[in-house]
């Protein structure tokens, strides 16, 4: 069995749950059909297994090394990336006129998911490059697209996003990197950037850094931030890399996991000019960057999900083959040991993993379809609805999988026991890799503030209301099926709870109690996230229940599994939202009132 994913499940999510084929009816995807999509996924799976998975453990043991002048790493990384680029994956989601394959984001997100499951460290480089190239596609000038985006999509140049600084991680308002205007219209950048993934390596002819900085004299805070291209090598008139630019690696960060992707402290303009060019308009850099944020955050959520998924698959296979112990009801010590999948606590840990990773993947791919639909929508009212749904779901898509699919990895280790704790098995590596996901691309604390403080309240609660009514339509449809009535009822009650909780919180906000309103934002995200995943499970159960009647053989098992996981989620996980709601309704101020000296 493949450890990366259950392909039957991926097909179920794409075609039975989300009807990805309908994307082919949109004008920009009209050249594709389901056969193309399946070929893409098939190729991705083969490449991920044959080129990425094969060096995942070794890359973890031998992380990139900086000798003071260059960064070296396992040669298999470049081999894998060359194959990835040659197969067209780097530019797959880009329009054909930009040199891409014009595939829906939904399909490339699913394909990329397989590479993350196999080897997140190696997959990081092209993912970052595609994200940076996409930013230039939307905000770059024609010249910038030609000189930077095109070589990035061809895999000749790689890209980075340089936001954080050593003194300002989550707080972009406080970045200090300066951009000094030059007579020729260019800028000299001066400052230090931190946590820059892919910030240095020898994998590509050039590295295109997209850098947030302040033009001298710009307003304080986020309204004075601009976006710049600062390449490692300046381009000559032909667009070829020429003179070295003044961006230098100060040092590599040595991480607990995700070790294959270099993570860098970069100095700009320390000893030589770091020459950059402005992207978009001055002081609008953060808006440009945030435009890409939804997809970047869906990417993190999907990555977290797939690390959990791979651990689930591995521990499932282990549980089926490892013989140990007997059922509690069997007192005969001379009887043969059973496969540990027969022990209820192992089954609990498998069902928990299954419900987290398959529920999360459904949500991530659903989010991806919203991106495609938004890109294709022609009516402004459709656009608005899609944008609202995407906006409110994005912090959940980023944060929920990165909490709970990490928990899945923890359970996978537990199923393997002592073996799971050793580096001879992949589950401990997946756990270490996944621990990054609650931190980067906006910590989960920041996601919680974004959700409650911005997305829920924006436009008088329009996004929140739309999410509730969208979920309610599933409740209504599922409630008619007797087998699903229990879950439909539970989801309906949870939606009411979320509405009431939100009303109470909004009351505090209206009274100006801003700190109290946001004090338990993390619990709000947990609550709403759990409800949204329950909704995804009810939708999956609907499809499975309907299909079960006509199913046979392994398909029957498969659909039954969806129903069992739905039941698990509704009985074991969704009830947690009640505790969160109670706490939130009380407007509890415990965290605000404890004196600093009392910790």
């Amino acid at each position: 069995m493949s450890y990366l994913i259950n392909r039957r499940d991926l097909d179920f999510l794409l075609y039975e749950l989300l009807d990805a084929e309908r994307l082919c009816r949109l004008p920009q995807f009209a050249q594709h059909d389901r056969a193309t999509f399946e070929q893409v996924i098939e190729t991705a799976e083969q490449l991920a297994e044959s080129q990425f998975l094969t060096h995942a453990a070794e890359a973890d043991q031998h992380e990139p090394h900086f000798d003071g002048s260059a960064v070296s790493m396992l040669p298999q990384v470049k081999t894998a990336l060359d194959a990835f680029i040659a197969a067209g994956f780097l530019s797959a989601a880009f329009p054909v006129e930009d040199g891409g394959l014009g595939l829906p984001y939904t399909i490339t997100a699913a394909a990329n998911a397989l590479f993350t499951a196999a080897n997140a460290g190696t997959a990081g480089y092209p993912f970052l490059t595609a994200a940076a190239a996409n930013l230039l596609r939307v905000h770059g000038s024609d010249t910038q697209k030609l000189r930077y985006m095109r070589p990035m999509l061809a895999g000749r140049f790689f890209g980075t996003m340089c936001l954080s600084e050593p003194q300002a991680g989550s707080s972009l308002a406080d970045i200090r990197t300066r951009a000094i205007p030059q007579a020729d219209g260019s800028y000299h950048l001066v400052g230090n950037k931190m946590w820059i993934s892919g910030g240095e390596h020898e994998l590509s002819d050039n590295i295109v850094h997209l850098v947030l900085a302040r033009i001298e004299g710009a307003p304080a805070g986020t309204k004075g931030i601009s976006l710049f291209i600062v390449p490692k090598f300046r381009l000559d008139a032909n667009g070829d890399p020429a003179a070295r630019n003044g961006v230098r690696l100060a040092g590599l960060n040595h991480k607990m996991g995700f070790r294959g992707t270099t993570n860098c402290a970069l100095n700009f303009g320390e000893t030589e000019p770091a020459i950059g060019e402005l992207v978009g308009r001055a002081n609008e850099g953060l808006a440009c960057m945030f435009h890409m944020m939804n997809e970047a955050r869906i990417g993190v959520g999907t990555g977290a999900t797939m690390m959990g998924y791979a651990g689930y698959r591995y521990s499932l296979d282990y549980a089926k083959t490892r013989l140990q112990g007997r059922l509690a009801s069997n007192k005969d010590p001379a009887s043969k040991p059973v496969a540990i999948i027969q022990h209820s606590d192992v089954r609990r840990m498998l069902l928990a993993q299954k419900s987290y990773v398959e529920g999360a993947l459904a949500l991530c791919l659903y989010g991806a379809t919203l991106v495609d639909e938004l890109e294709a929508a022609e009516q402004e009212s459709d656009k608005e609805s899609l944008r609202l749904l995407l906006d409110i779901l994005t912090p959940i898509i980023k944060a929920w999988p990165s909490e709970w699919c990490l928990e899945a990895n923890k359970l996978a280790i537990q199923i393997l026991g002592g073996y799971g704790y050793t580096r001879d098995y992949p589950v401990e590596r997946l756990y270490r890799d996944n621990r990054l996901n609650p931190i980067h691309e906006g910590t989960n604390g920041i996601q919680a503030l974004d959700l409650l403080g911005r997305k829920v309240t924006m436009k008088n609660g329009a996004a929140f209301r739309l999410l509730l009514t969208t979920m309610q339509s599933t409740v209504k449809a599922a409630g008619a099926t007797p087998e699903l009535a229990e879950y439909a009822g539970a989801l309906a009650a949870a939606i009411t709870l979320a509405a009431n909780t939100t009303q109470t919180l909004a009351g505090a906000a209206l009274k100006g109690q801003v700190d109290l309103f946001l004090a338990n934002a993390a619990h709000y995200l947990e609550m709403l996230g759990g409800i949204v995943i329950a909704w995804m499970w009810l939708r999956q159960a609907q499809v499975a229940q309907l299909a079960l009647a006509g199913a046979a053989g392994t398909d029957m098992d498969f659909y039954q599994g969806k129903l069992s996981a739905c039941r698990y989620f509704f009985r074991y996980e969704l009830p947690k939202c009640e505790g969160h709601a109670k706490l939130l309704m009380q407007l509890d101020d415990t965290t605000l009132t404890i004196p600093e000296g009392s910790f």
Copy 2:
């Protein structure tokens, strides 16, 4: 500030909460007083900081290495252990007549806790040695005590516990190592042992393996297991190490964390005889081993707690000094950034850690006082009560801290953000180290079965009832204090919930539905564990509330912190027990009914 522990808190727990001074009134501890105890803790803290903490990160980076003939490791490990032994810590809890210091277990547990907080890998060797020596103290013959236990207590020999085998981790009934009786009364052992901590090294003159094996012809299952001493070097007539015995290192396991302690696959009698001697009576090996289990499991719980505690302290210090962002209510981007401890989500993560680690430490030390009291008790009725309480609390003491203080480590990383994810800071190492604790010394799944399937039901529920009435007496006393009435009421309700849940489950057991009875044992442990920790918080709050009136300065802050953490635990954590109880009351069979092919 010390990262290992808040000494004010340790003193509070030992003297204000648990009245450790009263132990000096017991005959065997009459030679001690509080001053002695404080000196022991003081020495432990200094030694832990100066000799153990100093090489913790380096030992993690450079784990022990086996070149095929010998195991090498950092020289600082031996230096630290020599100092530890010279200061008397290895034998501190042993009676004076055995060469120990005759200190209460409570005090040595507290002292040992500091070494774990500093460097669990190095501390592992003497802890294992003391546990093995203690087993010989109780079950060994006089000759065995003289020849093996005494040199162990002197630190000349180290010890191990050899239980698990590659095919039998949790299932001791299935161990296969054979013991073949010899004409001279000795045994030749033949078999493979796995996960043996401290199984090979060059730190001591000898290694005394305590090995579970089957004498040829013994009954199947756990009733045919005997205990043997198998030394690395056989002793000559003078008790000095002489000829090499046939126990050989097959290989070191390479772990995610806890890397300083060698973890070994050992072969017995593969190419040369592994000569052993029986400890206690034939076929009673498991009973001998289990006699030591309570203390070993309290040791794991305390270790898990202290790894969490060290992470809490480190992230607290970081949160006080790291400046970033502004309060949500402050919209002025030109204002100065605040220390992140002012952000409510950081405070939430600190309070959660505080409530987990201080609550868990209170429970572990309370368990330790039960061990001391049981050892000293003269009336059989007292003995019986103490034994019951200790028996039912032990699986909770092992499992709850190893789940929730690991969660504390996860939160500590989150507070440090990207920095926390790098190996330049200790929090990621503590998280990796702590991940072992839910696995070893009986996985937490095994603890859950032990709690519900054995401890709760034994003697017609006597231990369970005693635990409830003991907790109820706290409820009654605390209920009289208006400031604590909310918590007393909540604990009373939770106790009732636990009683009802247990009754429902017992009903299923009585009907012979054994698998259904135990299907959600993990949730039962979570539920009862949370209630017990809430009880510990209410007890701490009682003491703090009383002391607050007469307190001044930092003491006032300290007691206020106890009250705030109590409030946090009761409002944010205890309510989770309702969800567990609901699930358990339903006798939910989701995990039992899903077909194996449906995962």
